[in-house]
């Protein structure tokens, strides 16, 4: 990769500045009461920050497709872990409302 397109110091500084701005933004948004959107906004900002770090600082943008697939699959399996576990937690109370045999 040493020969391919490579981010410059300028890119790094720009990404760094963006990360700091996003940090300030997320702290600011936390002072507002947006109801359930507080969590959504904060996690969206965190994901944008994470993407910036991965794509530029970790050079995922310039990496092979294989590496990208590896990262995506980790996130995918993490979602499986959370999602399928939640399928239990979120439906535990259902029996009280929906019971075809009652």
């Amino acid at each position: 990769m040493s020969e391919h397109a490579h981010p410059t110091v300028k890119t790094f500084i720009a990404v760094w500045a963006a990360l700091l701005v996003l940090t300030a933004l997320t702290v600011f948004v936390a002072t507002l009461d947006l109801g359930p959107f507080n969590a959504i906004v904060a996690l969206t900002i965190a994901t944008v920050k994470a993407l910036l770090v991965m794509l530029f600082f970790m050079e995922l943008r310039y990496s092979t497709a294989l590496t990208k697939v590896a990262v995506i699959s980790a996130v995918f399996f993490l979602f499986l872990l959370v999602g399928l576990t939640l399928s239990d937690y979120l439906t535990r109370g259902w029996s009280a409302y929906f019971n075809p045999f009652r």
């Binding site: 029996s95 009280a96 045999f101």
Partner: protein, 355 residues
């Protein structure tokens, strides 16, 4: 009766037939495929052994065959899935109006409390021909309530209620096992389920008890001063418990829960977890102060308040029918029922079940 058919468990509940039918179907399916594969292997091994077939024919594969032996098993397992899920639904849905037996598992014994007031250890008397629902919790680790003759099993967890049900068909004595490993005497955590003719059961249940489970709960209710706040009128600092059980309760954060056994239990031990709308979080926790048996008594009492078979000692409102709490009304009055029996102790004193 156990020695009659030593390779097969007794069949003593309505569920057993359903489970066995599916089991035999699966045995047939498994036997078919096992014999198919074994027979093919044997046949090929003999027919195509090197002496007889010195030169192998290279075959790369066949998409048609692959689809066939992907599709057929897929179809079979989908049938099994539907069939077994229907049985599972029957197993996990207790019918309405089932009689209830409260169960506490602890290292290493089973304690049962009947709503009529009978208490027993490691022996469970139930009538044949009636639906019985077990409401179970554990005092320590995870146990599992398992009666092979009924083909039912349910883990008994600390900190919450789980339930299962059965409809025993044949009078007799059946094994009760703890099926979830629970420590030193796990294999000694045995019990016996004694299925009786309904008339015998009624005689047994009414013999030698001085008060139902709900009445024991009522005593606990008085003893811990619950009635100070949970009054039968609007003046109480806590919700009026008349007619609450089994109905939806509006919470202060806007959610709605059904007032089932688990909710009542949680509200006693962990009052702050779900506050009914319009009330403050001022109730102290009774975690560590009440035994599981006392909690069960209270749950049974609240349940009795819910279906009108018991009354709060203070003037009562008319039974609620909508979402609780309705606008409180105070009218009518009932005399404080002041039975002079001694409070029930936690350990069973009734020799109803012979050990």
């Amino acid at each position: 009766m156990w020695s009659n058919l030593p390779l097969f468990p007794a069949r003593a509940s309505t569920m057993a037939g359903h489970v066995d039918a599916l089991y035999f179907a699966l045995v047939a399916m498994a036997a078919f495929f096992t014999f198919l594969v074994s027979a093919l292997i044997l046949f090929f091994a003999i027919r195509y052994r090197k002496e007889r077939n010195p030169v192998a024919t290279q075959i790369h594969g066949s998409t048609a065959l692959e689809l066939l032996w992907t599709g057929i098993p897929l179809g079979i397992v989908m049938i099994i899935f539907v069939w077994s899920s229907v049985i599972f639904f029957m197993q996990t849905r207790p019918p309405k109006g089932a009689m209830e037996v409260y169960t506490v598992g602890k290292q290493w014994m089973w304690k049962f409390q009947h709503t009529e007031g009978q208490r027993e250890i490691n022996e469970l008397h139930v009538p044949a021909g009636r639906d019985v629902r077990m409401i179970m919790t554990s005092q320590d680790v995870i146990h599992s309530f398992y009666v092979p003759a009924f083909r039912i099993k349910a883990d008994v967890l600390p900190g919450r209620y789980t339930s299962t049900w059965f409809h025993a068909t044949t009078p007799g004595r059946y094994h009760l096992f703890c099926a979830e490993y629970c420590g030193t005497q796990h294999s000694g955590m045995l019990g016996e389920v004694i299925v009786m003719e309904p008339a015998d059961y009624d005689r047994w249940a009414s013999g030698g008890v001085d008060g139902s489970l709900a009445s024991a709960g009522e005593k606990t209710f008085q003893q811990y001063g619950c009635s100070m706040c949970h009054r039968g009128d609007a003046a109480g600092r806590g919700p009026n418990l008349m007619g609450v059980f089994g109905r939806p309760v509006l919470l202060d954060d806007g959610r709605t829960v059904t007032a089932d056994e688990s909710y009542v239990r949680e509200s006693i031990l962990n009052p702050g977890a779900k506050i009914a709308s319009g009330f403050k979080n001022i109730m102290p926790t009774f975690e560590g102060q009440l035994s599981e048996e006392e909690v069960i008594g209270l749950v049974a009492y609240v349940k009795a308040l819910g279906n009108g078979t018991a009354n709060l000692p203070i003037p009562v409102s008319e039974p609620n029918s909508g979402t609780y709490p309705l606008a409180p009304k105070a009218e009518g009055s009932a005399a404080k029922s002041d039975k002079a029996t001694t409070p029930a102790k936690t350990e069973p004193a009734k020799p109803a079940a012979k050990q």
